[in-house]
Amino acid sequence: MAAAGPSVFLLMVNGQVESAQFPEYDDLYCKYCFVYGQDWAPTAGLEEGISQITSKSQDARRALVWNFPIDVTFKSTNPYGWPQIVLSVYGPDVFGNDVVRGYGAVHVPLSPGRHKKTIPMFVPESTSKLQKFTSWLMGRRPEYTDPKVVAQGEGREGKGSPPWAVGLE
């Protein structure tokens, strides 16, 4: 038993980043990555991914549809540190600079089956009005050093801007 290594359980995640609702922005793409605890290890699939750029649909929903597949398998010995998917959405601003449009995280569903999650998205706010203006001007909005911080509790005193939403399935 010992030679075979510790027994693990597997968690297979299949799904897709379906669409997003960003009423103000267009031509966005998203990145996803997973944050998981120490006892977790990915065994198959892609832990990170970056989607194509999508434009708003022309119908009334005005949804940004990516349908970007996610397929990853984890193994673990401990439910503690259950994986979270972290999404960050980027898109060009008025000047064409790529800026971050939203961060969000959600736990991978705990029960098997099909789940549809809607993640509220947020971005860090500039510390001052002047900063806001200059960052807007220069296209260097405040960003997280690592998008994974949104899935962690430490040091989350920052504020968020109005939430948009990304649909994930």
Partner: protein, 1620 residues
């Protein structure tokens, strides 16, 4: 039959079915045998016909015809009758029943007859159908056509039936619109309707019944056929349906004809059933429950009155709501059923459970936007209602703190009965009680008071009677007099009663005393000191008698008066009644006279009779006149009874305790036992407040007089409103334990009662315990008697009195600590807010249970009402006594329930332990990944290291460290480190915004200007400059991501091979080699040599090898002593354990070794003759020197760029530093100032890592707050002017406290032996001291306190630890210099490669010297190769100077700190130096290092290194030249002693000794810390890499001990190749 079954077509099948039906019908009527006989041929014929080809033709034709419109018309016409009201069938039902029975019977025969008919079918029969032409068919009307089909069927059954007849019949039907259908059988329309329409139930019912019966009765085949029909009909086209109908028609016809005589049709009127009849019948069958209310008596058994439980007070739940009418219907329905009554309850209503619907939905509300939420399911928001707690708390709405105080003074306890009472005691207690009563009475002296009152009243009456004196009117006077009189009467009565009581009490006292006396006599000992003395008070006989007589007389008079009055009143009444009686008499004329006479004759007789009101027939009797004598008699009697006789002395009892108690030895044994028992008993009281014990008295022994004195005052600081205050009396018998005797409820004092004013009150208590004792004690609750015969039994219970007083305390300022009155009543809303959970739980849970129970009993709560449920349960629990009210609180009450395993089990779990340790970030487990899922998968060895560490925390292990002192130090360091790390563990998890969010700085003008300037910049400048790279946080890195880039640019002054080499080689002429020609120095080289080597300048062919983490890269070989490589080397970096976190990277201890080698080529050609044909050379490399740069420096500096001095061994055999003629031009002046070789390097990491920042915590400090503020200010000012210059004012010491930096500087004595070494040469002494300091191993703080901060240890700590970084070295060196009388400062600034560091500056006579404390080198101020590149601060023992000069390079600044324009001093006139005490010790004490230990260490190091070299050469034999080794060992102490100018002697010696060998080797010198760095150093020289076959090695180690265990280690490594 078989032939029929073969038919596939559905339509034909139907025919068959119909045929079957028909056949069936036929056989049902055995009475019509003749006709059936006829029929028999026809079915056969028809069947034959179907078998023939004709039937398919038919089939084909039929759909065509039926699809036609004409047919639809026909349908319409035939629907006419259908739309008529349904056919009533009064007779039909009857007939149906009849026919049913018939059919049943027939069906039994059907099977038999079928068999016969099957035989008959074989017989061919004429087929009339065949004769019909298709034209004929076409000509037919739809009726005809229909008939045609009908005929088919008819023919099947009635062969005799002609076409015409059928036609006729049909027409008849048409006309009549109602066929003569025999009742009980469905007509075509009915059948159609049956399957299509929704008819009234009645006909359907009547029709269905027989049908169903029919079906059941029929055999299986038939059944199947029938059942098949409906779906088939629906599935197939309409035509089929029609056909089927037709079949039915035919049937009907047939049956209709059955009734009639052959060949004609009887016409009958339609059967009509009147509505009444029908209703009548329906009534028989149907039951319609009435909606009227059922009278109750019907629902109950006979002679039972309804019982309403609700009225009786029992709880009856709310019944589910059912409309009254529905309820009535149900009741009626139930009543008609047989056992209906059991459905009814006692109250005559249907039994029903309470409404199960909760008023509040338990499902959480769903927040869907859907509009269709039913209003009853919708959850309404109601504002939260604050739970108004029952007034438990005292903390009111105000802010007054709830410290109120109740003082309870318990003075003592007296038993009025106790089990240990002897009989005498019982009597004594009784006596005492009586006496107390007596005293109380006497004190009040009610009799006297009443007597006085009487007198007063009498006087008043007397006064009132005298009209002269009273101005009032007569009426009022008489009224008042009357009132007085009545009062006199009452007072007199009271007085008499009181006097009588007094007398009886006195009598009882005397009686008890007598009893006691007799008992004492009887038992012949005395138990109680009680003694009653009756004192006689003599009275004046005469006066007394007079008073007595006067009193009696007065009383008599009064009574007489009273009686007279009464008499008169009575007389009045008598008269009135008499009058009435007379009138009545007159009315009764017959008796009138007679009666009158009688009345006059016996007036007195009648007077005695009481005149009853309204007793008209009786004659009234006149009242009796008052007799004075009688009254007097009465008065005297009474007086004699209740009053003291005149002249009799007044008896005053006096109870005293003067009597003596018989001593024990004179008592019988039982009494002694009793007395001993008493002695064993002791008592104490518990004070319970709101049922919680708050305090208890001391335990006091029970006295022989059954009194206990406590005299204790308890001050209760109360918080809750007092609900109850109880004293619990506990008795302890010997050691057997305590029993609760009784509870004494104390009243809560009024708010006006404050301590000091409260009277001592006696509160009685009693216990119901039963005690029987085996001694003289009478026991308690058991009968006993005073009499010998056991008569007149008494049962006494333990009882007693507690004397106490309860009052509110008075505060310090005289304000009574009484809760405000308002708090007692209002709800304490805010109290809930403020009161903690404990108090609220406690008080709500522990209300006065007894009161509650009492209240519940009084208010007659319905125990069945669920709303009272919890209360009742509480009461039952509380009163049953099974569970007790805990007198403690429990937090997390449900913890026990939630524990899924016991704590021990949890602790035993290895997995849990592992998780716990990991979460605590214990170093061994901090990055433990994948903790196994099961306990069994966790190996025990996982914990071994950890447990070992814990175990060995205090055990010194010398295995790794060789030297015991250093092991101790390492241990200590580890401990310090642990404690510091633990302290900063939390701080590590603290993040700033900048850690998480990347935000661009707001560009200021300069940046904007710069960026604008950049626009004008050339796009591609010729000299590209390095651009800053983006930093990478070390989070998502893995092995191979990080590379160490080493750019080796050039070197200066590499040692060159010495010309002596040629001399050396002359001795070995035979092996004159190719390279030796090159090795010849330029000064000695011959033209022949230069021919061999074209340039003739290759004095040395150096190349650089960089080794890091055992990865080695080297440059190409350059030539000459000043080579230029300009090569970039790339080395991979591996973090320990693959952990790239900041903390882990900070603690990387690896060094980068940059070694410079000389590549030497040896001709290995054996034979000169072969020289022409091939070249055989061997490359050897000779180590020239190295530069060692710790990784941590690179990590923190991000890049290292500069020229470094190469660490060249003092003795480098065969090499010397020669000045090249060619190089003399440019750098001569500079080089003259410095000695040694230099290398220019650029080292960086790719990608650039963000170094971890030191902890931003503000540490506590013992410094003066003003000083700290000043430092802050100073730093801020400095940072404003020169942001790049580091200003050091406060540092953190080892214990994590902020300390002002000048406290570290203080003159400290260097070891005396160092001072003694060069007594006349201060410069040499200074160098020696610097060397001593540099011998203390360097250990960066970031390594020892990974990720924590820069800690400064004091010099003694530093010397004890023998490890420290630049600051500690610099501080120590500076202190030594200070003690040596030099002017010395600590210099902070940037140096290469260290980065921000500390150096020491000394002022010599004319110049300044800069000392590098880590290697002991010193530089002049204007030395270009001085590693210190910038100076920001100078720190002296009493001040700090910040460099405010334009430049910070030591070359360009003035070190004169007295100039305030150049140096900003911390302490100035505005802030004078306060005289800060030093953190350093008074003096340093140095122990001499143990020489033996050093020698031992030396041997061990040598052994280890030899083993290592052998290990590194796994494929070669490693031979040790012992002779050479011993010689080298001899050299090393010389090297230590004088490091200069030994080379030549050394070389000469070596040449002499080892003439046959080609020798290459060098000594290494290092401070000693551990073995590992030594091994690394040896490894980096690459001595072991020589793989010549005949190589021999020599290795010698010398450890020179310095005081305080500072060890200087010399390692001499050499390789020898024997020359042949």
């Amino acid at each position: 039959m078989k032939s029929k079954e073969e038919k596939v077509k559905i339509i034909t099948e139907e025919y068959i079915d119909d045929g079957e039906d028909a056949e069936e019908e036929r056989q049902k009527k055995p009475s019509k045998v003749p006709r059936q006989k006829r029929k028999k041929q026809l079915p056969a014929a028809s069947r034959e016909e179907m078998v023939s080809e004709n039937s398919p033709v038919d089939d084909q034709q039929e759909p065509v015809q039926e699809g036609s419109d004409t047919r639809l018309l026909g349908m319409m016409s035939r629907r006419g009758p259908r739309s008529l009201p349904p056919i009533p069938s009064a007779s039909r039902t009857g007939f149906a029943e009849f026919s049913m029975r018939e059919r049943m019977r027939e069906k039994l025969q059907a099977a038999r007859s079928k068999a016969e008919s099957a035989l008959l079918q074989e017989i061919p029969t004429p087929r009339p159908r065949r004769l019909r032409s298709p034209a004929e068919k076409e000509s037919e009307t739809e009726c005809g056509m229909e008939l045609d089909r009908e005929v088919q069927r008819i023919q099947q059954e009635h062969d005799s039936q002609g076409h015409s007849r059928v036609k006729f019949h049909d027409s008849v039907r048409k006309i009549k619109s109602k066929p003569l259908v025999p009742p009980g059988f469905p007509s075509a329309e009915e059948a159609y309707n049956f399957f299509t329409f929704n008819f009234d139930p009645e006909p359907e019912e009547s029709e269905e019944k027989p049908k169903a019966k029919n079906r059941h009765g029929a055999n299986q085949e038939e059944k199947e056929g029938e059942e098949e029909e409906p779906p088939v009909q629906e599935g197939v086209s309409k035509t089929d349906e029609e056909e089927w109908l037709d079949g039915r028609d035919a049937e009907d016809l047939l049956l209709g004809l059955d009734h009639a005589v052959e060949d004609f049709v009887a016409i009958r009127p339609a059967d009509y059933e009147s509505v009444h009849v029908r209703l009548q019948r329906e009534k028989e069958l149907l039951f319609v429950p009435s909606r009227r209310t059922v009278p109750t008596y019907k629902k109950l058994p006979e002679n039972v009155q309804p019982r309403y439980l609700e009225d009786e007070g029992l709880y009856i739940g709310a019944r589910p709501e059912v409309p009254r009418t529905n309820q009535n219907i149900m009741e009626n329905r139930l009543l008609t059923q047989e056992p209906g009554r059991r459905w009814f309850g006692d109250d005559g209503r249907i039994l029903a459970l309470p409404n199960p619907i909760k008023p509040v939905p338990s499902r959480p509300p769903m927040f869907t936007q859907a509009q269709d939420i039913k209003p009853e399911l919708e959850t309404l928001y109601k504002k939260a209602v604050k739970y108004i707690h029952r007034s438990q708390h005292l903390i009111g709405s105000g802010d007054s703190p709830g410290n109120f105080q109740l003082d309870i003074d318990i003075s003592g306890l007296i038993f009025t009965h106790h089990p240990c009472f002897s009989r005498e005691h019982v009597l004594a207690a009784k006596l005492a009680q009586l006496y107390d009563q007596y005293l109380a009475r006497r004190q009040r002296n009610k009799a006297k008071f009443l007597t006085d009152k009487l007198h007063a009243l009498r006087n008043a009456v007397q006064m009132g009677l005298n009209p002269a004196k009273t101005p009032k009117t007569l009426e009022t006077t008489s009224k008042t007099i009357n009132e007085y009189k009545s009062e006199i009467r009452q007072t007199r009565k009271l007085r008499d009663a009181e006097q009588e009581k007094d007398r009886t009490l006195l009598k009882t006292i005397i009686k008890v005393w007598k009893e006691m006396k007799s008992l004492r006599e009887f038992q012949r000992f005395t138990n109680t000191p009680l003694k009653l003395v009756l004192r006689k008070e003599k009275v004046d006989q005469k006066a007394d008698e007079e008073a007595y007589e006067a009193e009696i007389q007065a009383e008599i008079n009064e009574l007489l008066e009273e009686h007279t009055e009464e008499y008169e009143q009575k007389m009045e009444v008598y008269r009135v009644t008499l009058q009435r009686w007379k009138a009545w008499k007159k009315a009764q004329r017959a008796k009138k006279k007679k009666k009158k006479q009688e009345v006059e004759e016996h007036p007195t007789d009648e007077e005695r009779e009481e005149p009853g009101p309204g007793e008209e027939p009786e004659k009234p009797a006149p009242p009796e006149p008052v007799d004075r004598a009688v009254i007097e008699q009465q008065v005297r009697e009474r007086a004699a009874q209740s009053r003291r006789r005149p002249g009799e002395p007044t008896l005053v009892p006096e109870l005293s305790l003067a009597g003596s108690v018989t001593p024990n030895d004179q008592c019988p044994r039982v009494e002694v036992l009793r007395r001993e028992d008493i002695k064993r008993r002791s008592l104490f009281l518990k004070v319970t407040f709101n049922n919680k014990e708050v305090s208890r008295t001391e335990s006091r022994p029970l006295g022989a007089d059954f009194r206990v004195h406590f005299g204790q005052i308890f001050n209760l600081q109360i918080f809750n409103w007092p609900e109850s205050l109880t004293l619990q009396v506990y008795e302890t018998v010997g050691h057997s334990g305590t029993t609760l005797l009784a509870e004494v409820f104390l009243p809560i004092p009024e708010t006006t009662v404050v301590s000091g004013r409260a009277p001592i009150e006696e509160v009685e208590f009693s216990s119901n315990q039963h005690v029987t004792l085996d001694h003289e004690g009478v026991g308690s609750g058991v009968p006993f008697s005073f009499e010998a015969d056991g008569g007149n039994q008494l049962i006494l219970m333990t009882s007693g009195k507690v004397s106490n007083s309860v009052a509110w305390a008075i505060g310090e300022n005289g304000i009574p600590l009484i809760p405000p009155l308002s708090q007692q009543n209002i709800g304490f809303r805010s109290a809930l807010k403020r009161a903690d959970a404990i108090s609220s739980i406690g008080t709500s849970g522990l209300t006065d249970m007894k009161k509650l129970a009492k209240w519940a009993a009084e208010s007659k709560l319905d125990p069945n009402d669920p709303s009272n449920g919890p209360l009742m349960q509480l009461i039952s629990v509380a009163t049953s006594g099974e569970s007790y009210i805990p007198d403690f609180f429990r937090l997390e009450q449900l913890q026990q329930e939630f524990n899924f395993v016991s704590d021990e089990e949890l602790n035993r779990s290895k997995r849990f332990r592992l998780l716990l340790l990991r979460s605590q970030e214990v170093p061994e487990f901090r990055h433990y990944k994948q903790i196994p899922l099961y306990d069994r998968e966790i190996m025990e060895k996982v914990f071994q290291d950890y447990e070992k560490r814990l175990r060995d925390r205090n055990v010194i292990e010398t295995k790794d460290h060789i030297d015991s002192h250093r092991a101790t130090v390492a241990k200590y360091l580890q401990q310090v480190r642990e404690s510091v790390i633990n302290r900063f563990l939390i701080a590590k998890h603290h993040f700033l915004l900048s850690d998480l969010v990347v935000e661009e700085e707001v560009p200021n003008i300069s940046i904007l200007g710069l960026s604008l300037f950049k626009l004008a910049e050339q796009k591609r400048p010729l000299r590209p400059r390095r651009k800053g790279r983006k930093k990478v946080t070390a989070q998502n890195l893995s092995d191979g991501d990080i590379k160490l880039l080493v750019n080796i640019i050039r070197a200066y002054d590499i040692p060159v091979r010495k010309p002596t080499a040629s001399k050396f080689h002359q001795t070995s002429r035979s092996s004159r080699t190719f390279t030796e020609k090159h090795a010849a120095s330029p000064t000695t080289h011959s033209p022949a040599h230069s021919a061999d080597y074209p340039l003739g300048q290759a004095l040395v062919r150096p190349f650089v090898e960089v080794s890091f983490q055992r990865t080695i890269c080297h440059t190409t070989t350059a030539e000459g002593p000043n080579p230029s490589w300009n090569e970039e080397l790339e080395l991979p970096f591996r973090a320990p354990n693959g952990d790239y976190s900041t903390t882990s990277l900070q603690s990387v201890k690896d060094d980068v070794f940059i070694n410079i080698f000389d590549e030497v080529l040896y001709d290995v050609l054996e034979d000169d003759r072969e020289r022409g044909s091939g070249i055989h050379t061997r490359i050897e490399r000779h180590w020239l020197g190295c530069v060692r740069i710790p990784f941590s420096t690179i990590y923190f500096q991000a890049r290292i760029d500069g020229t470094f001095k190469i660490d060249i061994p003092p003795v480098l055999l065969g090499y010397s530093k020669e000045r090249s003629v060619m190089m003399d031009r440019g750098f001569d002046s500079i080089r003259s100032l410095s000695e040694g070789s230099y290398i220019t390097l650029f080292i960086t990491l790719e990608p650039q890592l963000v170094p971890g920042e030191s902890v931003r915590e503000k540490f506590d400090s013992q410094e003066d707050e003003k000083l700290l503020q000043a430092t802050e200010k100073f730093r801020a000012e400095c940072a404003l002017k020169f942001p790049n210059r580091q200003c050091l004012t406060t540092v953190v010491d080892v214990s994590g406290k902020t300390v002002f930096v000048t406290r570290y500087l203080k003159p400290l004595n260097p070891p005396q032996e160092l001072l003694n070494a060069y007594p006349n040469n201060p410069q040499a002494t200074a160098e020696l001291v610097a060397r001593y300091v540099s011998l203390i191993p360097f250990l960066p703080d970031t390594v020892s306190f990974a990720g924590v901060c820069d800690l400064w240890s004091s010099s003694d700590q530093f010397l004890d630890l023998l490890a420290g970084d630049e600051e500690e070295h610099a501080v120590l060196l500076c202190n030594y210099f200070l003690s040596m009388g030099k002017k010395a400062w600590l210099v902070t600034g940037n140096a290469i490669p260290e980065g921000p560091t500390a150096y020491v500056l000394t002022q010599e006579q004319s110049h300044y010297l800069i000392w590098n404390p880590c290697n002991g080198h010193f530089y002049g101020q204007f030395d270009t190769f001085c590693p210190l590149k910038s100076v920001s601060c100078l720190i002296g023992p009493d001040n700090i100077w910040f460099n405010i000069q334009q430049y910070d390079s030591p070359l360009r600044i003035n070190f004169d700190v007295t100039k305030p324009k150049l140096w900003k001093s911390f302490f100035s006139r505005s802030l004078p130096y306060p005289g800060l005490s030093s953190v350093q010790p008074e003096e340093l004490i140095y122990q001499r290092t143990d020489q033996v230990a050093a020698a031992e260490l030396q041997d061990r190091i040598e052994k280890i290194l030899k083993e290592k070299i052998m290990d590194w050469r796994p494929r070669h034999l490693t031979r040790w030249n012992r002779y050479c080794t011993s010689m080298l060992r001899h050299f090393l102490p010389l090297l230590e002693r004088n490091q200069e100018d030994v080379e030549d002697d050394h070389r000469a010696e070596l040449l002499k000794q080892l003439g046959d060998y080609r020798f290459s080797g060098f000594p290494l010198h290092m401070p000693y810390s551990e073995v590992k760095p030594l091994i690394e150093a040896v490894y980096s020289t690459g001595v072991h890499n020589i793989d010549a076959p005949n190589v021999e090695f020599a290795l010698a180690v010398y450890v020179h001990p310095y005081p305080k265990n500072v060890l200087s280690v010399w390692i001499y490594v050499a390789s020898l190749i024997r020359n042949r």
